[in-house]
C-alpha cells in the first residue's frame, strides 16, 4: 500500500479523477503504471505513435479508430486524465446506481458505452453513420474475405434494417434502437486488474 500511496500522490487531482470515473485507487495506480510504460519519452503525454507501438493493437482491424478515440478533436496528445476518462467507459456498470435523470450519466452507463461505439463509426462526427462510413468499417473488419459488391450489399442491408427515418444513414437513436436487445453492459465491459 505504501507504493500505491506514493504513486497516487504523484498524480495531480487524483481524487477528482476517481470520483468522476469510479476507479479505485488500485485501478488508478495500475493504469498510471501502464501510462508511464507507454510514455517512453516521459513527457507526461501520449502521442499516437506511442499507441502504435503496442503490437497487437496495431494488428487490430479498428486499432487506428480506437487510438483516434482517445484524442479529442484538435488535440495531438493525451494526458493521464483523458486516458483514464476514456478507459472508464469500459468499467462494468454500477448495479445500485439510483436512476436520477437530473444528474449527468456516468461514464460507464449504457448510453455512454453506446456513444463510444457510435463515434468509432462516425469519424466525421456529424451524428450519423453514413453509408460510406459504414462501408469503411466493414471493409476493415472483413478485410480480404469479401468482394466490394458483397460489402455494399451488406452495408445496404444494414442501413435498411436500422434506418427508420429513411435518411440513408444511421443516427444515434436508430443505432441505440437496433441494439436494444443486446446486453451492452456485458459486452462492453472489461474487468480491470488491480
Amino acid at each position: 500500500m505504501g507504493s500505491t500511496n506514493s504513486t497516487l500522490s504523484r498524480i495531480p487531482n487524483v481524487e477528482e479523477l476517481m470520483q468522476e470515473t469510479g476507479f479505485t485507487p488500485a485501478h488508478i495506480v495500475r493504469l498510471y503504471d501502464r501510462f508511464e510504460a507507454l510514455d517512453k519519452e516521459k513527457t507526461g503525454h501520449l502521442r499516437p505513435q506511442d499507441f502504435g507501438a503496442i503490437n497487437r493493437l496495431a494488428m487490430n482491424p479498428i486499432g487506428d479508430r480506437i487510438i483516434g478515440s482517445f484524442f479529442s478533436t484538435g488535440q495531438e496528445t493525451v494526458d493521464f486524465h483523458s486516458f483514464v476518462r476514456i478507459l472508464a467507459h469500459f468499467r462494468p456498470a454500477d448495479k445500485n446506481r439510483p436512476k436520477d435523470p437530473s444528474m449527468p450519466q456516468p461514464v460507464n452507463s449504457r448510453t455512454s458505452k453506446l456513444k463510444f461505439a457510435f463515434q468509432l463509426y462516425d469519424q466525421d462526427k456529424d451524428g450519423k453513420i453514413s453509408r460510406a462510413e459504414l462501408l469503411q468499417v466493414l471493409r476493415s473488419m472483413l478485410e480480404m474475405q469479401v468482394t466490394e459488391e458483397q460489402l455494399e450489399s451488406i452495408a445496404d442491408r444494414t442501413i435498411q434494417e436500422a434506418d427508420l427515418d429513411k435518411d440513408d444513414a444511421i443516427s444515434f437513436e436508430e443505432f441505440r434502437k437496433s441494439l436494444e436487445k443486446v446486453n451492452i453492459d456485458h459486452k462492453m465491459s472489461i474487468r480491470f486488474l488491480r
Binding site: Y121, I154, K181, S189, L193
Partner: protein, 668 residues
Amino acid sequence: GKLDCVLSYSDDFKHRSIVYSFPDAENSNLPVFTMNYARIQVPFEVTLWVLLASFAKIGFHVYHKITFWVPESCLLISIGLMVGAIMHSVHEEPPAVLSYNVFFLFMLPPIVLESGYFIPTRPFFENVGTVLWFAVVGTLWNSIGIGMSLYAVCQIEAFEVQDINLQENMLFAAIISAVDPVAVLSVFEDVSVNEQLYIVVFGECLFNDAVTVVLYNMFNFVAEMPEVEPVDVFLGVARFFVVGLGGMGFGVIFGFVASFTTRFTSNVREIEPLFIFMYSYLAYLVAELFSISSIMAIVTCALTMKYYVEENVSQRSCTTIRHVVKMLGTISETLIFFFLGVVTITTEHEWNWGYIMFTLLLALVWRGLGVLVLTQIINPFRTIPFNFKDQFILGYGGLRGAISFALVFTLPDSIGRKKLFVTTTICMIMFTVFIQGISIRPLIEFINVRRTNRNLETINVEIHSRLIEHTIAGVEDLCGQWSHYYWKDKFLKFNNRILRKILIRDNRAESSIVALYKKLELQNAMEILDTVSGDINAGSSIVSLQYVYPLSHSSACFLSLSLSLSRSLSLACSLSLACSLSLSFSLSLLLAFSLSLSLSLSLSLSVSFCGLVTLSVSLSLCPPGCLSYTSFHIVHPSSLTHYPFNLNRSDGYLRNPEGFGLGSIYQG
C-alpha cells in the same frame, strides 16, 4: 407343422393320456394363413414400445396448457407408471430397456449426441472455465458431502440402516450426486433463462460424467476390497485425468477424422450423414472400451465435427443430419422417461423412511451449499458474475435422472442393501423431476431471473457486436491486460491457417458477418417465395427463378427461360420487347401430360421495397382453355436497371447475373 393334441381315454376309462400327433402328411392342405410371432418378436415389440411412447407425446400436445406447466418428462413418467401398473397386474415383465448395456450403449448416446451437436459454441467456449469448475469440483463436493453425511445418518439407530458401511454410502452418493443431462435438458429447454446460466447448467451436466465414472469405479473397487491404501486415492486422481482428458482427446480425434472424411464425400452425398453418426458412435464406443468418459468423448466429437462438417456437406445433408440427430435424441429421451415410469412399478422395492428422506434433504442442502461456495470462488474471474437469483436456479436446477438409475442397477449384488439404494434413487429422481421440474418455471418467473432474448439475429447486431469485440480486444491490449480474446484469436488464426485447409474441401475463410448476411437473405427470399405460393390461382402458380441471357446490350430484347415450380409443370419462354407488352409462349405440361400451347398477353407491375428488393408481378391473360398464370419475380437491385414495361426507356442494360445465394435473382 402343427401339432394335434388329443386327449384319449383307455378302454377301461381309468387312464387318461394326452397324445400329441402330427397330422398325416397327406391330409394337410396348403395353409392359407399362418402366423409366426417368434420370429419378429423382438423388433416388433421394440417398435410398439417406441410408438406407444410417441403416441403419448402426441397426446400431451393436445392440451397446450399441460405442456406449458408440466415438463414432458413428468408426463412421460406418469404414462410409464400407468403402463407399468397395467403390466404388473398382468404379471408381464417389461423389456429390459434400462438394463446397463441397453441403456448405456443404445439409449444414452443419441441424447448426448443431440446435446453436444446443438451446444451454442460461442457462449460455451467463453464460459468453459466455469463449466468445468462446476462439473468437476461441484460433483466432487456433492459426492463426498452426501456420502459422509449419509454415513453419519446411518449411525442413527432408529433408521435401522447401520449395516451400510462408508464405502457403500460413498458409492451411492457418487451415483446420485451427478446432475443428469437428460432431465436437465428436457426441463431447461422450454424455460428461457439467460444464456450464461443456461450454458453453465448445460455444460455441467454433460461434463460431470468424467467425475461420476471415476468415483463410481473407484468406490466400486474399494467396496469390494477389504482395505484402502493411500496409493489408491492417488491413483484415483490420476485416473480422473486419464478419464477426463482421454475422453476429450478421443472426441477431438474422431471429430477431426470425421471432418477429414467429409472433405471427400462430394460424390457420395447420400451417405454423408452416415459418417457423422458412425464416427460419433465410434467415439462413444471406443471410450467405453477403455472405460473413460464416453459422454465427454461424444460431446467433444460433436463439437469439433460440427463446424467443419457443416461446411463440407451439401445443404440437404446438413438438414438431414440436424433432423436425424434431433429425432434420435427425442426418441431416446422419450423412451428413457417412459421406461423409468414402467420399471418403477415392476422392480422390487425396499422402503426406509429415514434413509430416503435424509437423502433427499442432504442432496438439496449439499447442492445449495456447493453452488454458493463455488460461485463465490469463481465469480471474481467471470466478466459477468452470477447474482443470487442465478445461483438459486443453478442449485435448484440440479435434476437427477436416468443415468443414476441405470448406474444403481448395476451395483454388484454383493451390496446387501441394493434394493434400498434402488428405491432411494427412484425417489430422488421422481422428486427432482416432478417437484423441481414443475416448480422451476413459476419460480423463474417469480424471482425474475435475467432472461435471454433468443431472437437476436439481425445484421446490425452482428456487425456492431463484432465491432465491440474488436474494441474490447484493443482496449485490453492497451491496458496491457491478458485479453479474453487472446486465446480465441490465436485459435482462430491457427484454424484459418492450418485446420481449415486440411479439413475443409473448399476453403474460403468466411466471416460470421457474411455468413449471417447470406443466411438472412436466403431466409427473406424463402419467405417471399412462400407467401407467393400461398396465393394460388385457379390455374398453376409459377414461381420462377429466371436466368437472363442478354441478347444485346443496346436493345431490350431478351429471351428468358424460366423453370417453375407449380402444380403443373410449365416451361415458359417469354420474349419481350422493350416498351412493349411481353408475349409469352407457355408450354404447360399438365399432370395428365397433355401439351397445350397457350399464347398469353402479360402485364407486369413492379414495386420496389426500400430499394433493396423489387417484386414484379405479371399477370397473363390466356385465351379460354389455357391456364392462366401469375408469376412473381424477385429482383436484386444491383443488377437491374430494366423494367420490361418501362415505357420511357427503350434501352435496357442488363448485366450478367453474378452474385451469391438467392439474394440475387435477376430478371430483365
